[in-house]
């Protein structure tokens, strides 16, 4: 690994100042499960690594606030799937978090890091999208909130501005009954990246939400406010990579249909069980 300087701020103000000072020469270190691989293979060669795990305001926490569950940026996947609040309100996110990497990776990888990497195959993103997650970010220009659907551009690129970092992710608590489910296709059970990853949420007002990933440069969200959802139109937006070694485009498109049906059935069952 190429040498770099290591900074370990303890306040958000210090973290923002360090990122502003070093600009593009700095990289944020949260869980490190992606960053350290890229530092080692030379994809990234920052002069400064800013470790945000000791920032007080970002300490691991899942709290109920303002009609939402707030997940701080330091919260790891293990915290997500072990949280009774998450299990009660957001089972599709719990199921997705359980599928990330291995125990060792889930103990380290943060939810915020999963979205900031903007991988099209990110396991937690379809669930976060169907739950209408909002991203809190802070930077030199102050704080702002970004709907998650406006956060992704393409693989590895987000709408975060230079010097901005994510502080928390909010999941709005539903006002009525909701049934939701997560589905994922991999080449092998266990540690693998998804060939298709998706989530469905249905509510008692008749709304259908579908989000899928690994089928184009960024995960996509579709919402139908009532009646039969136009699934064929939604599937037509998929753009699976023609060159991926993980799965052929035809296979991914076929599995998208199958997994959507399975997720719809599971979500319907959960919606009825919530009655």
């Amino acid at each position: 690994m190429r040498a770099f300087a290591y900074e370990r701020p303890t306040t958000l103000a210090d973290a923002v100042a360090l990122l502003a000072e070093h600009g593009p020469d700095a990289r944020i270190l949260a869980g490190g499960t992606d960053l350290i691989i890229r530092l080692r293979d030379g994809t990234y060669a920052p002069s400064v690594v800013v470790d945000v795990k000791r920032v007080r305001e970002l300490a691991p926490a899942i709290t109920q606030t303002d009609g939402a569950l707030r997940v701080s940026a330091g919260t790891v996947m293990t915290d997500i799937h072990d949280s009774p609040l998450m299990q009660r309100w957001f089972p599709a996110l719990v199921d997705a978090a359980r599928f990330v990497g291995s125990v060792q990776i889930r103990n380290r990888a943060t939810l915020a890091g999963n979205i900031c990497n903007a991988s099209p195959a990110a396991d937690t993103v379809p669930s976060l999208l169907v739950y209408d997650a909002r991203v809190h970010a802070i930077g030199p220009a102050g704080e702002r909130t970004i709907p998650l659907d406006d956060f992704f551009v393409r693989s590895g690129v987000t709408t975060l501005q230079p010097g901005e970092l994510v502080t928390a992710i909010d999941l709005p608590l539903p006002s009525g009954r909701v049934g939701s489910a997560f589905q994922r296709r991999t080449r092998r059970r266990g540690h693998d990246l998804a060939s298709v990853t998706l989530a469905v949420a249905l509510d008692d007002a008749g709304t259908t939400r579908l989000a899928y990933g690994s089928l184009g440069p960024r995960p996509l969200l579709f919402v139908s406010e009532g009646g039969a959802p136009p699934l064929d139109d939604w599937f037509a937006a998929a753009r699976p990579s023609p060159t991926s070694m993980r799965a052929s485009p035809d296979y991914r498109l076929a599995m998208l249909r199958v997994l959507t049906q399975r997720a719809m059935a599971a979500a319907r069952e959960r919606l009825e069980a919530a009655a």
């Binding site: 499960t33 990497g101 125990v103």
Partner: protein
């Protein structure tokens, strides 16, 4: 930079470069070579250690991140040198060890699983050890070792390593 950590119950301070990993520090600076370096991308689990109560791939943690933390390596699983935990003895009894390279990581993950889930199902064992690859493909024997430990069938804790070395070989191991 100076990094202080509680390593297998002892406070140790080392001078490490910021770009060196916890794995580098354990093996090269602290002389604990039980933790293995293998894939360096968090896939194989050979470098698994416990950090602040949770297992991690030490190849994906900077040494600096462990500053002030508590680290347990395979050398620290048993209470004293020359002793083995019940899980370690069960690995020997079940013939779970072939080349041995992945075993420190397997033991750390198995130990972690049994701390969290004292009586795991087969599926929970498979998931608990999914981050640890064994290229000798001893998975059945490794899972069996975890199962008998959970069932209380493994030899009592703190079996002396010396006596384990004269233990009869499991039936499927050919004595050469």
């Amino acid at each position: 930079m100076q990094v202080s950590l509680t390593l297998n119950g002892r406070i140790r301070t080392v001078d490490v470069a910021p770009h060196h990993t916890l794995l580098d520090a354990l093996r090269d600076d602290l002389g604990l070579t039980g933790t293995k370096e293998c894939c360096l991308v968090g896939e194989c689990g050979a470098c698994t250690v416990r950090l602040n109560g949770r297992i991690v791939d030490s190849c994906l943690v900077l040494a600096a991140e462990a500053d002030g933390g508590e680290v347990t390596t395979v050398e620290g699983l048993a209470p004293d040198p020359g002793q083995l935990t019940r899980l370690q003895s069960a690995f020997i009894d079940k013939g779970a060890v072939q080349c041995g390279f992945c075993i420190p990581g397997q033991l750390m993950a198995g130990d972690d699983l049994l701390r969290r889930v004292p009586h795991p199902s087969r599926a929970e064992i498979e998931e608990g050890l999914a981050g640890n690859l064994c290229r000798c493909a001893c998975y059945e024997q490794i899972f069996a070792a975890v199962e008998v430990t959970a069932a209380g069938e493994a030899p009592a804790e703190s079996v002396a390593a010396e006596s384990s070395s004269v233990r009869e070989l499991p039936p499927h191991v050919v004595d050469q």
